[in-house]
Symmetry: C2
Subunit: 303 residues, 2 copies
C-alpha cells in the first residue's frame, strides 16, 4: 500500500506520520516543511507520546510522487481549485482519494474531477497544530469516520479504515457520510466561527455564560439545517449539549480557522460556513446566527 | 446661565466649547485633559472650522465647580455608578441635568437620584473623537434632540435647545424622548457593535455586501424592539435604509465603542446593547442578531 499526502499541514503530517510509523509507505508532498523534513525528519509532539521519523519521503511536485494506492487530501479548502493539478499525477486505475478536509462539498468536487467511485470522505476529530518546520503538535483526539458517496465503495472504505486502525487511529467506516460531515459542522461552525471573529480560544467561549449560550444556539441552527438535508436519521438537539461537554475538555484550543486568521491566511469560509448556510436556506431553515457569523468572518478575513 | 460639563470626553469637550464660544459660562470637570487645558486652552479641529479657546474654566472636583444652572453629562455609561458623587455638588434648586450619553436607562437612573422634574435627555448625532490632551476632533454632524421624562419640563427643554442653537448646534426639542433614543439605537447597535467586534470602521462594513446586509438586519431587529415599547408613533422599517444612506457619507469613521476597545477601555454594553435587548425581549421581540452581538462584545471586552 502506497499513500500520498497532499496538503501536509497539521492534519496531513500527523496522519501521514502515524501511517508511516505503522509500516505503510507514505510519500509527502511538501512545501513549507520540505527543507526541514529532508534534513531532520518529522517530529510529532503528541499527548499520546512523542515520536520522531528520521527518514521521510518528501517531494516538491506530485509528478515526482507518481501514482499511489491512496491519496490523502489535507489541503485548505480554499485551495480546492488546485485539486486537478495536485492530484492528477497521483491517480492510477485503482487509486482511492480520501479527503480529510473540513466542511462540505469536497467529495463532490473531487468526484466531478476523478469519478465518485474512487472518492472517500473522512471526518477527522483532531486537535493538532503545525509547529516549527519539521514538527507537528498533536494536542488530543484523532478519531476518523470514513464514508463514501456511492455504496459500491463501502468495502474499500472499510479497508482504509482498517489501515488507519492498524496505525493506532480510532477509525470507523460509516454508512452515512453526509451525516458524519454535518455532525462535524455542528462543532466546526460555532467554534471555528466565533473563535476566529473574537480571536479567543475554545475555553474563553465556554467560560462566558453568553458565549456558551451562543455556541449552543449556533449548533442548534446547524442541526436544523442538517436535518433538512434528508439524512439517514436526524441529529438530535441534545447533540449540541454533548458537543459542548466534549469541548469543555479542550482548554485554550485554537481552531484551525483562528490560526489561519492570526497568521494572515485566507479562511475556509466556503466549505465550512457558506455552503452549509446555503444548504440550510435551500430548505428554508432560518439561520440568522450562522448568516451573521459568515458576514463577520468576511469582514475580518485577511486580504 | 452657568453650565458644568461632567464627562469631558469628545462629546463633552465639543459641546462645552461651542457653548463657551457663544458666550455661555462653562465649567469643565477635567481629568485627563486638565493640565493641557489649563496651560494651553482647548483646541477644536472641526469640519465646520477650527477654533481655539484660550481660557477654559477647568476643575478637578465637582465641589470646586459648585451649583450651576445646567449640568451637561457626557460620561461613559459604565461610569454611571458615579452619578451621585460627581453631580450632587453641582445641583441647586433650579438646576437642570442634561444627559447626552448613549443608550437607554440614563435619564431614569438620573431621575432616581435627582428627581424626574430636572432631567433632560439629549440624543446627539455627533462624529467626534478626542485628540491629544487639550484637543478635540469634530469629524462632522452634531445634531441634538432634547426631550424630557415628564411633560411639565417641556418649556425648559425648549430653552436649553435654544441655548444650543445660539451656539450653532442644530438642536430641537422633541415630544417623545424615548422614540429619539430608540432611533439613535438603530444606528448605534449595529455600528458600535459590529465595528467593535471586527475592529473595522463604518465604511468597511458598508463596503461589504454581507456586512451591509447584516447592518440592515440588526437595524430591523432594533426597530421591531423599539416599536414594541409603545412609542408615540412607530419607527418605519425604511428608517433602516435611511440610516444606512446617512452612514455612507461617514467614511472610515470609528464609533466610540470601537475606540474604547482599541484603547483598552471597558465597553458601554449595558446602556447601548444589553438594556435595549432586554426591553425587546420583555415584549417577546426575537432579536437573535443583537443577542449574538452582545455575546461577542462580552467576549472581546478588554478586561
Amino acid at each position: 500500500m502506497r499513500v500520498a499526502i497532499v496538503g501536509a499541514g497539521a492534519l496531513g503530517l500527523y496522519y501521514g506520520a502515524l501511517l508511516q510509523r505503522a509500516g505503510t509507505e507514505v510519500r509527502f508532498l511538501l512545501r513549507r516543511d520540505y527543507d526541514a523534513v529532508m534534513k531532520g525528519g518529522l517530529r510529532v509532539f503528541s499527548t499520546a507520546g512523542d515520536f520522531h521519523l528520521e527518514r521521510i519521503a518528501g517531494y516538491r511536485t506530485p509528478a515526482e510522487i507518481g501514482p499511489v494506492d491512496l491519496v490523502l487530501v489535507g489541503l485548505k479548502t480554499f485551495a480546492n481549485d488546485r485539486y486537478a493539478e495536485l492530484i492528477n499525477p497521483l491517480v492510477g486505475e485503482r487509486t482511492l482519494i480520501l479527503t480529510l478536509q473540513n466542511g462540505i462539498g469536497n467529495e463532490e468536487a473531487l468526484a466531478a474531477l476523478f469519478g465518485a467511485e474512487r472518492i472517500l470522505g473522512g471526518v477527522a476529530y483532531l486537535c493538532s497544530n503545525r509547529g516549527e518546520p519539521g514538527t507537528v503538535h498533536h494536542l488530543g483526539k484523532g478519531r476518523v469516520l470514513i464514508g463514501t458517496l456511492v455504496p459500491s465503495l463501502a468495502e474499500r472504505a472499510e479497508q482504509v479504515a482498517a489501515l488507519f486502525r492498524a496505525a493506532g487511529v480510532d477509525c470507523t467506516a460509516v454508512a452515512d457520510l453526509r451525516k458524519a460531515r454535518w455532525e462535524k459542522l455542528v462543532w466546526n461552525i460555532p467554534f471555528n466561527g466565533i473563535c476566529t471573529v473574537t480571536l479567543k480560544p475554545v475555553d474563553a467561549l465556554l467560560g462566558s455564560p453568553s458565549g456558551r449560550e451562543l455556541v449552543r444556539e449556533v449548533m442548534l441552527e446547524v442541526i436544523e439545517a442538517a436535518n433538512a438535508q434528508g439524512l439517514s436519521e436526524p441529529i438530535p438537539r441534545d447533540y449540541a449539549d454533548r458537543m459542548i461537554a466534549f469541548s469543555d475538555g479542550m482548554g485554550p484550543y485554537r481552531p484551525s480557522m483562528q490560526i489561519d486568521r492570526e497568521e494572515g491566511r485566507r479562511l475556509e469560509l466556503d466549505a465550512l460556513v457558506a455552503r452549509p448556510l446555503a444548504a440550510g436556506r435551500q430548505h428554508e431553515v432560518p439561520m440568522p446566527r450562522v448568516g451573521m457569523l459568515l458576514a463577520l468572518l468576511e469582514l475580518v478575513e485577511p486580504s
